[in-house]
C-alpha cells in the first residue's frame, strides 16, 4: 500500500479548468454576438457553463479539504498565498479605474467647463445615502471579526448569528446602492464623470455581491459543521475578501463621492 511521504496535495485529474476556459471563450464571444448581432444565446450559454464550472470546482475543493483531509498545513499556506495574490490582482484592477478618475478630475478639460464636477453634473450628496453605505460596510467589518473570534472560540451560535448579520449588511448595502443608481440625475453616458462613476462603483457593487455570496457559502458550511476552531481557511479567505471590498468602498467614498463632489 503506497502512501505519500510529502505534505503536498497531488490533485485528481479534473475537467473544470478546461470547462472554465471554454466558458470564458463562450462569454467573451457571447458579448461580441450580443453587441453586434443582438443575440444573447452564446452569452447565456457562457454564463451558465461558467456557473457550473465554479460550483463543481469549489465543491471538489471542499471535498478534498474537509472530507479527504488533503489540506495539510503546507497546502493551507499555499492557499493563503494564492488568495493574497488574487486580492492583490484585484487591487490593481481597481487601481485602473481610480487612475482614470483622477486623470480626468485633477485636470478637467475645457469641454467639461474646466471644473469638477463638470458643468451640468449634479453629484450625489456624500452625507446622505453614501455615508449610510459607509457605515453599513464598516459595521459589517466589525461583525465579520466577531464571527471569526466566535469561530476560533468554538462558539457556534454566535458565529452563525454574526455571520448572518454580516451577510444581511452586505445585502442592505447592495439594495441601497441599487436605489441610488435609480436616483442619480446622471447616467453612464454623461461624459467622463458618468463613465468613471459607474465603472468604479459598478465593479465595486459586483464585488460586494461576490463577497456576500462567498460569505453565504461559509454560512452553510458552518451550519454543516465543516469548520473547526483551528482550521477554517475558507472562512478566512471570505473575510479577507470582505475587508478588501470594504477598503475599496472607503477609497471610492473619499475620492469620488466626497472629494469629487
Amino acid at each position: 500500500m503506497t502512501h505519500q511521504t510529502h505534505p503536498y496535495h497531488m490533485v485528481n485529474p479534473s475537467p473544470w479548468p478546461l470547462t472554465g476556459a471554454f466558458s470564458a471563450l463562450l462569454m467573451t464571444s457571447g458579448l461580441a454576438m450580443w453587441f453586434h448581432f443582438n443575440s444573447t444565446i452564446l452569452l447565456s450559454l457562457g454564463m451558465l457553463t461558467n456557473l457550473l464550472t465554479m460550483y463543481q470546482w469549489w465543491r471538489d475543493i471542499v471535498r478534498e479539504g474537509t472530507f479527504q483531509g488533503h489540506h495539510t498545513f503546507t497546502v493551507q499556506k499555499g492557499l493563503r498565498y494564492g488568495m493574497i495574490l488574487f486580492i492583490i490582482s484585484e487591487i490593481f484592477f481597481f487601481a485602473g479605474f481610480f487612475w482614470a478618475f483622477y486623470h480626468s478630475s485633477l485636470a478637467p478639460t475645457p469641454e467639461l467647463g474646466g471644473c469638477w464636477p463638470p458643468t451640468g453634473i449634479i453629484p450625489l450628496n456624500p452625507l446622505e445615502v453614501p455615508l449610510l453605505n459607509t457605515a453599513v460596510l464598516l459595521a459589517s467589518g466589525v461583525t465579520i471579526t466577531w464571527a471569526h473570534h466566535s469561530l476560533m472560540e468554538g462558539d457556534r451560535m454566535s458565529m452563525l448569528q454574526s455571520l448572518l448579520i454580516t451577510i444581511m449588511l452586505g445585502i442592505y448595502f447592495t439594495l441601497l446602492q441599487a436605489s441610488e443608481y435609480l436616483e442619480t440625475p446622471f447616467t453612464i453616458s454623461d461624459g467622463v464623470y458618468g463613465s468613471t462613476f459607474f465603472m468604479a462603483t459598478g465593479f465595486h457593487g459586483l464585488h460586494v455581491i461576490i463577497g456576500s455570496t462567498f460569505l453565504t457559502i461559509c454560512f452553510f458550511r458552518q451550519l454543516n459543521f465543516h469548520f473547526t476552531s483551528s482550521h477554517h481557511f475558507g472562512f478566512e479567505a471570505a473575510a479577507w475578501y470582505w475587508h478588501f471590498v470594504d477598503v475599496v468602498w472607503l477609497f471610492l467614498y473619499v475620492s469620488i463621492y466626497w472629494w469629487g463632489s
Binding site: T19, S29, L45, T49, D60, R63, T66, F67, Q68
Partner: protein
C-alpha cells in the same frame, strides 16, 4: 400468613419511578439547531475516503456524473456553436 412466594421475584420494580420531567434526556443549548442536521462530516469523511479509484469530481456517483456530462455537453456544444458563429461573422457581407 407471610407474603412469600418462593421462587418468584417481582419483575416490576416496586419503587416509585421518578416523574417524567425530572430527568430530561438531553441538556444542551444546541437542541434548537438539531433539526438542521447532525454533524454529518465524519460519515462524509469515511465516504469520500473510500479507495475505489474514482476521482473526487465523480465520487458521489450518479448525481456527479449527470452534472459532469451536462457541463461538458453545454461547454463543447457551445464551443462548436461559437466557432461556427465566429466563422460566419467573419464572412464579408453579401451585398
Amino acid at each position: 400468613c407471610i407474603n412469600y412466594t418462593p421462587g418468584l421475584k417481582p419483575v416490576v420494580s416496586t419503587k416509585t419511578p421518578p416523574i417524567i420531567f425530572a430527568t430530561p434526556t438531553k441538556l444542551t443549548f444546541d437542541s434548537v439547531y438539531d433539526y438542521a442536521g447532525k454533524n454529518k462530516v465524519p460519515e462524509l469523511q469515511k465516504f469520500f475516503q473510500k479507495s475505489d479509484g474514482v476521482p473526487v469530481h465523480l465520487k458521489r456517483g450518479l448525481p456527479d456524473q449527470m452534472l459532469y456530462w451536462t457541463t461538458m455537453a453545454l461547454t463543447v456544444g457551445g464551443t462548436i456553436y461559437c466557432l461556427i458563429g465566429l466563422y460566419m461573422a467573419s464572412q464579408p457581407k453579401n451585398k
